[in-house]
Symmetry: C2
Amino acid sequence: MAVTIKDVAKLAGVSPATVSRALSMPDLVRPPTREKVQRAVAELGYQPNPTAQGLVLGRTGNLGLIVPDLTNPFFPAVVKGVQTRARDFEYSVFLADANEDPVEEAALVRALTKQVDGILLCAPRMSEDDLRALVGATPLVLINRRSGRIPAVTIDNLAGVRQAVSHLAALGHRRVAYVAGPRASWSNRERVRALRGAAAAQEVDLVEVGTVAPQFAGGVAAADLVLAAGVTAVMAYNDLIALGMLSRFTDRGIDVPGQISIIGFDGIAMAEMVSPPLTTVAQPQDQIGRVGVDLLLEIMRSEDPAVARRRELPAQLMVRGSTGVPGPVD
Amino acid sequence: MAVTIKDVAKLAGVSPATVSRALSMPDLVRPPTREKVQRAVAELGYQPNPTAQGLVLGRTGNLGLIVPDLTNPFFPAVVKGVQTRARDFEYSVFLADANEDPVEEAALVRALTKQVDGILLCAPRMSEDDLRALVGATPLVLINRRSGRIPAVTIDNLAGVRQAVSHLAALGHRRVAYVAGPRASWSNRERVRALRGAAAAQEVDLVEVGTVAPQFAGGVAAADLVLAAGVTAVMAYNDLIALGMLSRFTDRGIDVPGQISIIGFDGIAMAEMVSPPLTTVAQPQDQIGRVGVDLLLEIMRSEDPAVARRRELPAQLMVRGSTGVPGPVD
DNA sequence: TTGAAAGCGCTACCAA
DNA sequence: TTGGTAGCGCTTTCAA
């Protein structure tokens, strides 16, 4: 076994209580004593056992983070934000990947619940019922989703979509397709709703070509449908889908943006790396993570569940090479 | 506070000891008693407190995983493998991202050490000294690195590099550049070594154009140097660098593979999504994670540090569109 | 087969 | 300012 507080106490010639105090409330102990303890700690290389601390303090010092799919570059960026901020407050983070499976999401939360002081949950398709069951079990912050009065950090989907539609309208596009993400996804529903409003307001015809997996392959599959829809521009639920379309267009010899313009959503790093670079509605990914942690800590500290705590972060259209004025329609 | 073992005991009309036994060694308790307990557990929704269990059992049920940069798609894939396998054995995993910083790597390991039963460490540039200091503190498995007798899972860099060089030689390339990753990286050193050997054996001139960050931007920067080196093909330390070069070549109007062939390393998903798709030496990313967990558990179980446990996984060249026969040299 | 009780390592209360 | 001690929730002897 490792060195315990008793070993330190013995070596320093004080009681375990004093060692504990010297470490956690140093000014309650006389300087000479404090130094004795510090020397003993250093000599023995003592580190408090977090499990024991956790047991007596009733807190673990851990945060849980659940994401749908780490393979989508959007989430690693969020994870990094969470980690950074969590470390600032000396929290460690449990990460769990739900593999895009609502059932796993719920199971993971349940498993994590006992191990952490709070959970950051990015579970776009978990049922509202499952969600409600979770709340109250542990402090919880939703990421990119809202539900009832559960604390949440989201982005301004409405503004993001509006910027995108205005951009296309200003370029002269009059007929635009939307390739949807998972039907159950909160973000997707929000974006569709915003899109319909914005399209109507800007007198743009909106063609909803259906739902695909929020992945590159989904975009590849959608590309041909989009082409058949006779539009001059297409917006995608996320960047991965947009990138898949771009790739398929390139393969089919369709010029982007000459023959069709593409707008993605998320602002993942990869969007800048393709050619042409992808115009996209960027989310502040690491900020989402950081703010999520802040919110969670706030909740954990002041356990007043009455106030619904929410943060809405801005979305920003990044205009890049994949959008341009519409070419002549064939 | 949540429901404890005492609550269950009271409701079931037995002692806490019996509840504990009924749960963890069911056949030591008479069936009728067992059922009473189970009913009480169900009614109260009791779940054992893992912290308390951890304290008495001396194990946490957690694994730690440290990666250099979650933003490199290679690592999320490894992380997924780790998670999957860990979950099979009812372990949770702490994930920490070291931000490509050797100092942070060491600090993270130290912080994690007390919280987990074992650590999977992917720290390509941590100094050997730091590494040695860690070993012994906690069961440890190195990922993509070898050091002394520390257990490790690596891939067969030598075979991978050989396949790549043979491929280029077979296509007729006689002068090939290598864009190196971090000088301190174990994998990079291995690959350079293998490359020199393979190039000599295949009578290929090797031009080492220097070291860049193992990221897209590094590749962009390297591309112009490569072009100036008068080679017909280039190999990169990893796919991100290769992708950066590809992008820069495209921007400069250089045809790939017409004017220059590119080979990456890692086999990240993105490599297939660009155009032309990237020829690359693929690592079995999720398998690396899974095998790492297996190895770690093995070590944790049989604490016989005498045997050096290692796994070397195969690397496989994926021939795709970014390599072809060399064009006429200008 | 079951229960009483000790104790994992630590913190915090109460006394001294 | 310090020490003794109870107890966090659980498991596991040791006895009954």
